[in-house]
Symmetry: C2
Subunit: 250 residues, 2 copies
């Protein structure tokens, strides 16, 4: 199935516009997709909706496109942060990719007492999230933040943002039951702990936040990436933009 390429750009998108694509994108269209003059693609920038464009100049060093028409208007998207303790290897790439697909608005690595990985390649996280956003037809990119200490994040927690967190203690409410009692939309975050779990004092600190909604993700011990995918999907299904069969978000 030949599908039109879909790329994120920083430039404004408007009728009659001309864009010189970034080097990587030019390389991708010319050498990987082997597209030439007249081929069409889709562009979005997170502000001006989605536009169809046509390649009108290809050279060894650049690809220019002309904007044709707006295909979709910009629409509001769920305001859902993903906070997670960085983990090793490819799993962290997959977390960024799935956060892109599952509609997280911000990706925020948090350092916890039991976090083993100290350095986080945020550029790589952003690249994975961006590729996922391009492929899944999202109209925005998730913003990727530099890692912060969990206690710093909790100390400055916004009053108007609820915090869904996977709690390993036995007395947390099952996630579907907890979410069924919340109002759709609003500002939210999902918080996933490190592989060894939060420390007791961290658990206490998180639970003490009035905005925190502790939930259980069942009887099996989930890896951090699995817990993140599950919590994001459950949130979207109950409170986010999976609630409408036609895909709209209020």
């Amino acid at each position: 199935m030949a599908t039109e390429p879909r790329l994120h750009v920083d430039t404004d998108l408007k009728a009659g516009g001309e864009i010189a694509l970034e080097k990587d994108q030019a390389h991708y269209l010319r050498n990987v997709m082997r597209l030439g003059h007249g081929a069409t693609l889709k562009l979005f920038n997170g502000r001006d909706g989605e536009w169809r464009a046509a390649i009108d100049h290809v050279s060894k060093s650049r690809v220019d496109v002309a904007l044709l028409d707006q295909v979709r208007a910009q629409a509001e998207e769920p305001d859902l942060w993903l906070l997670f303790a960085p983990i090793k290897g490819k799993r962290v790439d997959t977390i960024a990719e799935k956060a892109g697909e599952l509609g997280a608005s911000e990706i925020r690595p948090v350092l916890t007492e039991r976090t083993v990985v100290g350095r986080v390649n945020t550029e790589r996280l952003a690249a994975n999230a961006r590729e996922a956003a391009e492929q899944c037809e999202r109209l925005t990119l998730p913003t990727v933040h530099e890692p912060q200490k969990l206690e710093t994040v909790i100390a400055a927690w916004p009053e108007d943002r609820q915090l869904l967190f996977a709690d390993e203690r036995a007395n947390a409410a099952p996630i579907a039951e907890a979410l069924a009692q919340c109002c759709p939309g609003g500002r939210w975050a999902v918080l996933i702990g490190p592989e060894g779990g939060f420390s007791p004092s961290e658990q206490q600190m998180i639970r003490a936040l009035p905005q925190s909604v502790p939930v259980s993700l069942g009887p099996r011990l989930l890896r951090a990436d699995t817990a993140a995918f599950a919590a994001l999907a459950l949130w979207q299904a109950h409170l986010g933009d999976w609630r409408n069969g036609d895909g709209g978000f209020e």
Copy 2:
């Protein structure tokens, strides 16, 4: 955090039992975990619950363990098949791993019109699912089947098994809404299509099954692996063993 190793064995587990572990497992305990005489571990076989055991013989060629006591009794687990069209590369390994963690009872690759990958390494799928089951404290392993054609699977579909399928058509019900109308427990399957989606005739064939429950997974175009994780998690949260905060399953 030093955690006790947890391994699946085929042997019966009973008080006073002695087990010579498989070669790979012996290697893992001796050379990777560097355990010696007296070290304890946990074993399960899918029938006799979970047992604590102690290493009582280590040599270059083998590790023997003595069964100490039963830690958990065998319990019923959700009857949830995962049917998916095989995809390329590491993503298929991750699907098997997450199916293990998210409590799928059977993993069944299905070949569809738009399936690009013909060969499936079912041994590798089983190894990934097994490792996940060992780590996540499940009491069973998912059974991995050889690939079958989708039309063969649908033609022989069991009368008493419902089929949750991610339908890209606009008029499918949002997944949380659809699941809220179903009774918990029972026999179920989740069916995920290939990256290019089901063909129109396949969609018609699946929809024509009286057991089929078409659902929407939101406005973004999810990759097959993401759709599988989301559908399994939503099913467990609504109808499976995530419904009870204490982890039990009725």
